[in-house]
Symmetry: C2
Subunit: 193 residues, 2 copies
């Protein structure tokens, strides 16, 4: 890793903290500069804009989650178990990231185009991963799915729907069990013939 990249990484780490506490809007470039003990212009030496820093933060975050997911599922051979592990860990990870997202949730960011680009990229990536697992299962003859692409969209969409627990009171004790139940029901036994 080059010197320049190290500095960029430091800025990203510091910015991540500030963004996660105050959101995108209320985080100022001056704050980031002060927190990194640099002049504001120095920040602009490494990044072209506030958006670019935010993008880097999100992408690092997504990269870590992706790595965690990959690490967790790479050992598992059986596609059925692999998919199950993927869903479980992804939903647990979202729980962990809740703080980071909370600060941003109350902001209206979707009119900022770059946010939507990031979101779409991340979603596409996730769909691709799930589709990959499904396809291997189809090759194995373990799954019989007509359209693995549509199926992966359905799975990812359903996970998004299940992110926010609306109906049932959630405490940290029962959330694990609940996720497990839902995964089993939704994808392995919602309606057994």
């Amino acid at each position: 890793m080059l010197d320049k990249d190290e500095v960029k990484d430091t800025i990203v780490n510091v910015a991540r903290h500030i963004f996660s506490r105050f959101g995108f809007r209320k985080t100022t470039m001056d704050e980031i500069a002060i927190a990194t003990r640099k002049g504001k212009s120095s920040i602009y030496y490494y990044f072209e804009s506030k958006e670019e820093i935010f993008q880097a933060v999100v992408e690092k975050e997504a990269g870590l989650l992706k790595a965690e997911l990959h690490e967790a599922i790479s050992k598992i051979e059986d596609p059925r178990e692999k998919l199950k592990a993927y869903i479980l860990i992804r939903m647990r990870a979202l729980n962990k990231l809740a703080n980071f997202y909370d600060a941003l949730k109350n902001e209206y960011l979707s009119h900022l185009e770059f946010i939507n680009i990031i979101r779409k990229k991340y979603d596409d990536d996730e769909i691709a991963t799930v589709e990959n697992i499904l396809s291997k299962g189809i090759e194995n003859g373990e799954f019989v799915i007509e359209s693995p692409h549509l199926a992966s969209i359905a799975i990812v969409t359903a996970m998004k729907g299940l992110e926010i627990p609306i109906f049932v009171e959630v405490n940290s004790e029962n959330v694990e069990k609940r996720i497990d139940d839902l995964v089993n029901i939704l994808f392995y036994g919602l309606i057994k013939r």
Copy 2:
């Protein structure tokens, strides 16, 4: 139906129009009064508050949807087909109601407690309906589901997740087919052994 209820119903119908066009906040009691050709105090003779009118509007709307759903599924005997029809029609109905919800979507209403009460009530009702269908299927021996309650939560939640088409561009031509595909995949053949 008594005279009083007829007048209330007229007010609700007029208010529905205005709410759907301008949302909750930007709809004024004066507007409702003018549109109903009544004095404002007359409106307050029939309803205690703006919230109460809005609640009546939403409840009527929900009631119509509920009736439509019931009408559609009441003839179907097979629980599997019944559930499928329920999901299909509910998702189509949501498409139709899009205009009504759109005006309200851009408002931040969830901090108004009565909105959350309505929402929860509606959600609970929907879960109960789905649970009822599932239970009949279990009695029949057609479904093997350990927790029909959890399963119905999962189905309703997933439907909510699928309400907003995030990933795929949607045009009115393919939306029907897409819903059908997703329903089939999610609940009847996501992963066939």
